[in-house]
């Protein structure tokens, strides 16, 4: 089981997820489809320095959805089954993520409203790199049991 605490109060921070975007992870995420075996990868700007250089990148860049996957991991860890059945997520990539950037996915409860017998939490979510630059920013919401459920 994933151990989680469920941040439900306005102002609560969601426990962050931190990952280094090394070339191994980027090749797994962005080099696979269609049909590549585990250790094979297709060459593209996310998996290969030469391919990245051909479109002007200084290094391979992580795919935006790869970083979005870290946001999901953060939200799955925090809200578990609730996230996977009622979660909504919206984000924009505002800066490129370079190979070996250390990315921290963060979130904070910004509001809560009653929705039937449950409570819908609204969250601010974002990712930043180790230089302190925000690379991805957005919002999320999830239905969780209302605080007085089961009493």
């Amino acid at each position: 089981m994933v151990t989680r605490t469920m941040p439900t109060n306005v102002g609560d921070e969601v426990p962050a997820v931190v990952q280094t975007m090394d070339i191994g992870k980027m090749r797994l995420f962005s080099g696979g489809f269609p049909g590549a075996a585990y250790h094979e990868f297709n060459k593209n700007q996310h998996t290969d320095a030469d391919a990245a250089a051909r479109v002007g990148r200084p290094k391979p860049i992580a795919q935006g959805l790869h970083i979005g996957g870290l946001l999901q991991e953060m939200l799955i860890s925090a809200y578990g089954e609730h996230w996977l059945t009622t979660g909504k997520l919206s984000w924009r990539c505002i800066n490129m993520i370079l190979e070996d950037d250390i990315i921290t996915a963060r979130g904070k409860v910004g509001g809560a409203s009653k929705e039937g017998a449950s409570s819908r939490l609204d969250l601010q979510v974002w990712c930043e790199n180790h230089r302190g630059t925000t690379v991805l920013v957005g919002g999320a919401s999830v239905l969780v049991p209302a605080p007085d459920d089961g009493r």
């Binding site: 990952q19 992870k25 479109v55 002007g56 990148r57 935006g64 979005g68 999901q72 059945t85």
Partner: protein, 154 residues
């Protein structure tokens, strides 16, 4: 730049909003799922061992990646020198997908526009499991950059 009718601009103009893209049908087997789970680096056991849903489930980002590929397909006629970037997503999670499921991802070109000389495409998508139940729905936003100088990093 974009007022010139370059081959990329002409290809972009030809893209019709509303036309379907896909579908893509994909078996999400244990090896594919392990690959994505390892790419995240979090060691989440729900993807490779067991979950509260009665077995391992697929990381949602796999489904989003398949959906994004529909957008790439729609944009495949552009050969921009600055390549492509994934710009954003709006997604709703409806039902976890067990490992071993064959999913069908249906897409439609929902919008397109040019902003700051970059080409943007919005692809709406719906993911269905083998029973035809919708498990995820959303929209992906992808950009194509006529020049490498249009990309930025800090």
């Amino acid at each position: 730049m974009t007022s010139e009718m370059t081959p990329d601009r002409a290809a972009f103009e030809k893209l019709e909003v509303g036309v379907p893209v896909g579908p893509t049908v994909r078996l999400l087997d244990a090896e594919t799922v392990r690959r994505y789970a390892d790419s995240l680096g979090t060691g989440n056991p729900w993807f490779v061992k067991d979950s509260p849903f009665g077995g391992p489930i697929v990381p949602p980002c796999i489904l989003e990646n398949i959906a994004a590929d529909l957008g790439n397909r729609a944009l495949s006629q552009l050969e921009t020198k600055g390549g492509g970037l994934f710009a954003g997503i709006e997604v709703e999670y409806l039902k976890p997908v067990p490992v071993g499921t064959t999913v069908t991802v249906l897409g439609r070109v929902a919008d397109k526009y040019i902003r700051r000389d970059k080409y943007y495409l919005v692809t709406e998508f719906h993911v269905q499991d083998e029973a035809g139940t919708e498990v995820m729905t959303g929209r992906v936003l992808q950009a194509r950059l006529p020049s490498p100088e249009q990309a930025r990093w800090q």
